[in-house]
Symmetry: C2
Subunit: 299 residues, 2 copies
């Protein structure tokens, strides 16, 4: 059973035990554009205590650079090299693990964040925010000339998802021999400011269903993201805490990487999912209501 | 193992054994707008032999009336009361089985076929082809006023699928108590004139994934469609043949209804799916390459 943090001593012992603090963002630091109460003070406190603070997000709609802009806008201190997103991790995966040849391209379902990270990694792509794919007109195979150099389909959250994008991606999967099927992440939903909306996993769901195969998913809980972090930061997994709002991504990610985990209840996971007879089998090491609870350390 | 029809005698014995012939359309009579060679002559021959000919399609983009127009355009004799589509069956299901109260509405993801059949059945609906939902603009919950009278979400093939439609449907499923989750059918793909495209099941896949529940699927292989046919036509299941191109919908539908089945190979199912070590466990009674093969009966 998860340890419920409640008194000042509980939080002080966290501070003693962990040098590196990995934060999920949506549902932990903010919901949509609304900051979680106390998040800024708690991050400041950790920095004052010389903790390493890293941000690990499955959100692939933004590149690390544009994610930094979001931190700035909300007044949260963050540096680009502290931010790890699933778009970045996907680009690293394509070049380092998949080793997509330089003459091959990626067909992207997703937003500018994926495009920016692919560009940074020197990977060619088509689709994405291409105006030609921004259409609700019926898709006709007769008017479609598939690009034989597409060697991977990468699918992330895309709020401009449409039948043309799905049809093109599907054609590449079934027509181009060896075409890889990748997803930035498989979150079924995401916590917007005013409630839940379909997440990246819901955007790749049509392809998964039509193609009858699951994509390789790069983001949390997959270990690829942790490999990306390890390549840039030294840390001792035993003294590292993963903080998140979602059991099957954040907490599972921490567990897969041998990290201790702290669940907050300001996002996806609700109290009833961690207690009672229907509790999830994914059990965090610690639970607290909100990241803001750590402000008790300042008192 | 399925009996492979090859000589005239094989086809003659079919003619003797079955009085009612149920036809799937896409992949059996036509692919997209291209007729299967010989389909018209074979249907004429069956009518001359006083066979009952019925058309049973999962295609929910058209109402029975507009489906009739497609038959007319391709020069295939058909009468509206011989056509059974999953849009029609869905409307019948909503009024007769679900018994949706008259003050409740259906939120539709789908095309005009569903709307027309709901209208015919006196069922109120929103969504569908409403221009307000024909948009690729980002969806914001802040600007969305959910309609508390929505008591069901019905999802069919929609080539104008977009994030606004998916988000609204998802909100109704999670917010409106008791909201039913229905799909016209769950075909993963459909055979267009020039190849496979994502089918109705791929359009409902995001909702299935985000909501973590499967819809009630109305079309083949579900028995609802057969109930609709039985309500309008007398037939002896023992002397009825279901002809289709898809094992997990058409052939399974026939089997579920106690009908004999004939698989044609002009659509989805390929030779290797019915022979060899990886053959499907769904075994039709008969197989022939194409419906046109029955022209041998005229020679």
């Amino acid at each position: 059973m998860a340890a419920r943090l409640s008194v000042k001593q509980d939080y002080e012992s966290l501070l003693d035990k962990y040098d590196t603090w990995l934060f999920d963002c949506d549902g932990v630091l903010w919901e949509g554009d609304r900051l979680i109460d106390g998040a800024i003070e708690v991050l400041q406190l950790l920095r004052e205590k010389k903790k390493s603070v890293l941000f690990v997000t499955n959100n692939a709609t933004k590149s690390r650079k544009s994610y930094k802009t979001k931190f700035d806008k909300l007044g949260v201190e963050a540096h680009v090299d502290e931010i790890f997103g699933s778009a970045f991790a996907s680009a690293v995966y394509i070049s380092s693990v998949l080793k997509l040849p330089k003459d091959k391209k990626v067909y992207v379902i997703g937003m500018s964040g994926i495009e920016e990270e692919l560009k940074e990694e020197g990977i060619s792509y088509i689709g994405g925010t291409d105006p030609a794919d921004y259409t609700l007109e019926p898709f006709s195979l007769a008017n479609f000339t598939p690009d034989p150099s597409v060697g991977a389909v990468l699918c992330g959250l895309d709020t401009a998802i449409n039948y043309t994008k799905l049809s093109k991606a599907f054609q590449y999967l079934i027509r181009n021999p060896g075409c890889a099927f990748l997803a930035t992440n498989e979150d079924s939903t995401y916590p917007a400011a005013d409630g839940l909306l379909p997440g990246a996993g819901s955007i790749s769901a049509p392809l998964r269903y039509a193609y009858a195969k699951d994509p390789i998913s790069i983001g949390k809980p997959n270990g690829t993201m942790l490999e990306c972090i390890k390549a840039k930061h030294d840390f001792d997994p035993k003294r590292t805490l993963m903080i998140g709002d979602r059991l099957n991504t954040d907490i599972q990610f921490g567990k897969n990487g041998g990290l201790d985990t702290l669940l907050v209840l300001t996002g996806i996971t609700k109290e009833e999912e961690i207690t009672g007879p229907n509790a999830s089998p994914i059990i965090p090491d610690y639970v607290t209501k909100s990241l803001g609870d750590l402000r008790i350390l300042k008192s």
